[in-house]
Symmetry: C2
Subunit: 239 residues, 2 copies
Amino acid sequence: MTSDVRARIDPSIETARSVVEAGLDSGAVVTIFGECTVEYDGRAASTLGPGDRHVMCKPDGTVLVHTDEGHQPVNWQPPGCTHDVSITDDALVLDSRRDNPDEQLVVTFDAVEHVAAFDVTDPEELSLSGTEEDLRQRILEEPSLIEPEFTPLATERETSAGAVDVYGEDGDGRAVVLELKRRRVGPDAVGQLARYVEALQRDLHADTGVRGILVAPSVTDRARSLLAERELEFVALEP
Amino acid sequence: MTSDVRARIDPSIETARSVVEAGLDSGAVVTIFGECTVEYDGRAASTLGPGDRHVMCKPDGTVLVHTDEGHQPVNWQPPGCTHDVSITDDALVLDSRRDNPDEQLVVTFDAVEHVAAFDVTDPEELSLSGTEEDLRQRILEEPSLIEPEFTPLATERETSAGAVDVYGEDGDGRAVVLELKRRRVGPDAVGQLARYVEALQRDLHADTGVRGILVAPSVTDRARSLLAERELEFVALEP
DNA sequence: AAATAGATTTCGTCC
DNA sequence: GGACGAAGTCTATTT
């Protein structure tokens, strides 16, 4: 089995350029490591002085510039960009642009220590569990997790304030709005639930009030206070 | 100048293991490219079948698994993890764990096409402009951007609902709360502003109402409706 | 360590 | 293409 990797250690700038260009043209994932500066201008603007970084260009137009720290790239370009590689003043210049919004990322390598191009085939999709969607399924299958006589009537029910996670009614026939969160919630989630309850109250112009229940593993103190103020409820449930 | 890169193309599993282990021990950024499977268990859980991916291990304990698409890694481990590399059944196994929360990521390579270790020195900090903080500075320097007689009195002023971006008063001496956003805002930002205004109203028990102003480049239709309902205001301002 | 909100958030889904 | 909200969000800041 032949390898689909093209790689060079301490390449000349011209060799690096040629490996990068060939890689980009062939739809490979291209990585460059070396001392570089980075300029970005678009939704915001940034500059980054000289330092060693790892740059990855994907065939979908993504660019990622990574330092030795952190999950997030220090600079990047989202999918959909077009790349151009050239040599200016003995430096390797990677120029990545997109429109809507107009954004440009320029990485300039004074020295390239390593360059590689990988032909990627990845047929698999990630199978993920423990999401908010899983939590919703559990509740629909077993509504008593919320309270004994809760009955789900709809998911993603539209209100004038947006779609509600789960809409249903309780044992007394009162309308109930559920807002689901897979992790501990703060004030924002309470605000979200309050908006939905208020909107549905108005949409239904019900004589009996609409109940709002926040469903999450736990709540912060401030969120709990806000829930109390607005007469909203909380049910503890792990995702 | 000597290179600080150690790299191998189509290494044996044992060679790959040794390069990775040496790299991790020496605080290098280590990259592995090849066919692998990925298992994750922690805040959620996921599995990913065989495919070609690029894996990066940083000296701060970050792991990133990238496919050929997307800005985000398909799997990852945040900073602070400890890594272990070993060989099991002729496969290279990278095991990354952390506590609090308990999380484990296991990447198993059937074949390694490329492995490299980079010694990174990056003394520079990113200089970024066009953030919400910059918008705030502009407003403090030129309060008339909000309205002719607006006077800022405090930033990050604490209320029972959290800290307010900018607190001030208008020409009539009425309290004003500003919520700043660097981009077009939806309903969530209105909810946030409403929480602050409500809390401050109560905190001050003012006879005249507290004004709330959303400052952003633009608003969505629904956000505009919500603003109107709650008698909140909007000022258009680019970051 | 927990809480709170920003982010060049990105990403998916629905309209 | 815009709008809306989730995310294993991550990250910085403050308590």
